[in-house]
Symmetry: none
Subunit: 212 residues, 4 copies
Amino acid sequence: MNIETRNTTSTKRDGKRASNRASNRDAILQAARTVFAELGYGGATVRDIIRRTTLATGTFYNYFTNKEEVFEALTQESGEELRALLSAARQEADNFEQFIEASYLTYFSYYAENPETYHLVRSNRGRDGGNINMRGPQVTAGLAEMRQDIERAMKLGMIPQNDAALLTAAIGGVAFSILDEIMQGDKIDPQGAARFATKLFMRGIDGGIDGA
Amino acid sequence: MNIETRNTTSTKRDGKRASNRASNRDAILQAARTVFAELGYGGATVRDIIRRTTLATGTFYNYFTNKEEVFEALTQESGEELRALLSAARQEADNFEQFIEASYLTYFSYYAENPETYHLVRSNRGRDGGNINMRGPQVTAGLAEMRQDIERAMKLGMIPQNDAALLTAAIGGVAFSILDEIMQGDKIDPQGAARFATKLFMRGIDGGIDGA
Amino acid sequence: MNIETRNTTSTKRDGKRASNRASNRDAILQAARTVFAELGYGGATVRDIIRRTTLATGTFYNYFTNKEEVFEALTQESGEELRALLSAARQEADNFEQFIEASYLTYFSYYAENPETYHLVRSNRGRDGGNINMRGPQVTAGLAEMRQDIERAMKLGMIPQNDAALLTAAIGGVAFSILDEIMQGDKIDPQGAARFATKLFMRGIDGGIDGA
Amino acid sequence: MNIETRNTTSTKRDGKRASNRASNRDAILQAARTVFAELGYGGATVRDIIRRTTLATGTFYNYFTNKEEVFEALTQESGEELRALLSAARQEADNFEQFIEASYLTYFSYYAENPETYHLVRSNRGRDGGNINMRGPQVTAGLAEMRQDIERAMKLGMIPQNDAALLTAAIGGVAFSILDEIMQGDKIDPQGAARFATKLFMRGIDGGIDGA
DNA sequence: CATGAATGAGTATTCATTCAT
DNA sequence: CATGAATGAATACTCATTCAT
């Protein structure tokens, strides 16, 4: 898959390799992921993307109508994936603390294992002057799901009544920030980070976060 | 007919020049603030900025050399302001809870009162593909200051020992997210938001956040 | 309405593109030759060049990256040509006088037959504030070749020992000046000019230049 | 005179130094000479010139209407000077050989002593696409004078009948080329160069140029 | 479907020149 | 006369997008 997408500086005219029709879309997506991660959405050009490909300029427009559209597809892809993982993780939780911890762990682990996707998202929070939600439609959707779960938990008395919107926002915000923090270091420890965030949320600072 | 001759044929040649000299810089800054807030740094062009002004293209370059430079001036300005407010607020705190609450309150209030600045910052987190720190030098500096205060508090035993980096990140993340959340609504309530965030941090969900 | 969207609204969208691909480069070169001849390198703009063409702005950059580069291509082209002609002419000379006369004749004839190239070179001696050698790399190379031939002739005793550098410079200078002189008139006579210059060089004024 | 013209990076607002009214023109001329020599006519901007001055932008236009005009004034100045020197030198000649040698010596010496003027002229031969004669009005005038002297010499039988136009052109061409040649080296020897050129012109190569 | 040359609107920036002070 | 901020036309170059092959 790597071999396919890397531009080999050949005049790329064999008409064999490129004929792997269905995979052209993937080649573009893969190239775009890298380019967006490196240059950010605003800095990336369609040319940058196809240049990382064996394809020709025009071919791009057979699969996407826009730079916008590739970006969307890209975030959709990983967003969907992450959302599914999160959803699954939450289903297995027996109590709220497990629910939170599983969420954080899934989230941190996902980006720890897909650093390029992390950089893609990271470089492009807040892009486009707010026309598009900072976090992409999937993150929004993911947060909405979580909020529903939280509201359900409140109704069931698993956690005290609270402003679910703020609570969800807080959970998300902590996730983003701590993710940034741990992705900067060398020894990325999703486990530890998840436990930290969970304890903080369940019992607060006074709860002696590390104090088990 | 000389090659080097530039034609001039002015169009907009009224007494505009007589306008308060020093205020041109402000006019540009003000226009830039709006434009960046609306279009984001990447989407904004120098032309967009001067177009919101009575000034001519070239005049921009009498005050700034770059789009970059106006942006910097803008974030510096508000960043410095907010940082000073935060620093002052923290100094007056008697205990850690007050420290946290004052910080949140100051932060939320500042943006509630300067919504355009909020949008400016909001539209430009993560701009430029990561070349420039997502939060601008001032926010970074502000967070570093807060972290020092937190570490001091830990040493003094005011709060349990903890990973100060993660804790600071978490506080910042919650601030960002909740700010986003409240800035979307109509009835912005910095007080309530600050109290919510503070309780969450001090005692966690189980602490009965709303439990006054 | 998306910020990144560029509007297109073409205007000049006929079958122009169908035109002989390879000939676009030539079209640009031809236009550039004329423009440089008329306006000089410094006075000419890339826009001036493409304006003399049916092509669009961007097309220029598909073939050349610079004004510099077209100019180089242009002088290279004719420089190489002239240099080859000169070299060939000298090879056939049996004695030094023939050597000189053949050189002058070739030189004068070449520009008499390519007046546009003459104007191109003429308008651009000394361009760019000396950054680029006044006479272009080919003329320099051509003079260096001639100098080697002259030094050889000295060694062989065909002509008296002399400062070859000054001698070559003098030959070149006479060529330039007389070329300018004859290109201004109506009845251009390369033969006569070559004979004049040759006699002057061989026997000096006292030699009775016109004296056949 | 140097102190006056060098920009001292002060905000230059004393209003004392600049009031030396008559000398402002000179200051501009001196600055322009340097700038044109360094950047060439095309590359130089009016701003470059005034920047080397203690004067303000607008002041330039109190003395000259154009970049063109300063350049003209500059070449006029030195052209006039050189022309006078040449004319004087020729008057003292007793025979044609002295006439030629005096001319060359004066010419080479003048530029050897005014290298900045040399670079000014050198960088700007052929500027402006032929709109302005390559050599400036003064050089043209100087050559016309010389031509008249040559024609007079022919009538008087001092030198053989010849095409005076070509002869003058040749003399000028040799002067330019050899000047270039000697100005490149370290040990500039106007005397030797003048003798070389003179012998070449009087007796040609076969005359044994160096051979006395 | 693939190709890639052609297109031209758009952007940042410069600079000669004016003119209110 | 001197000043220098203001002006805006002009330039080089980019890049999303089209379309003939």
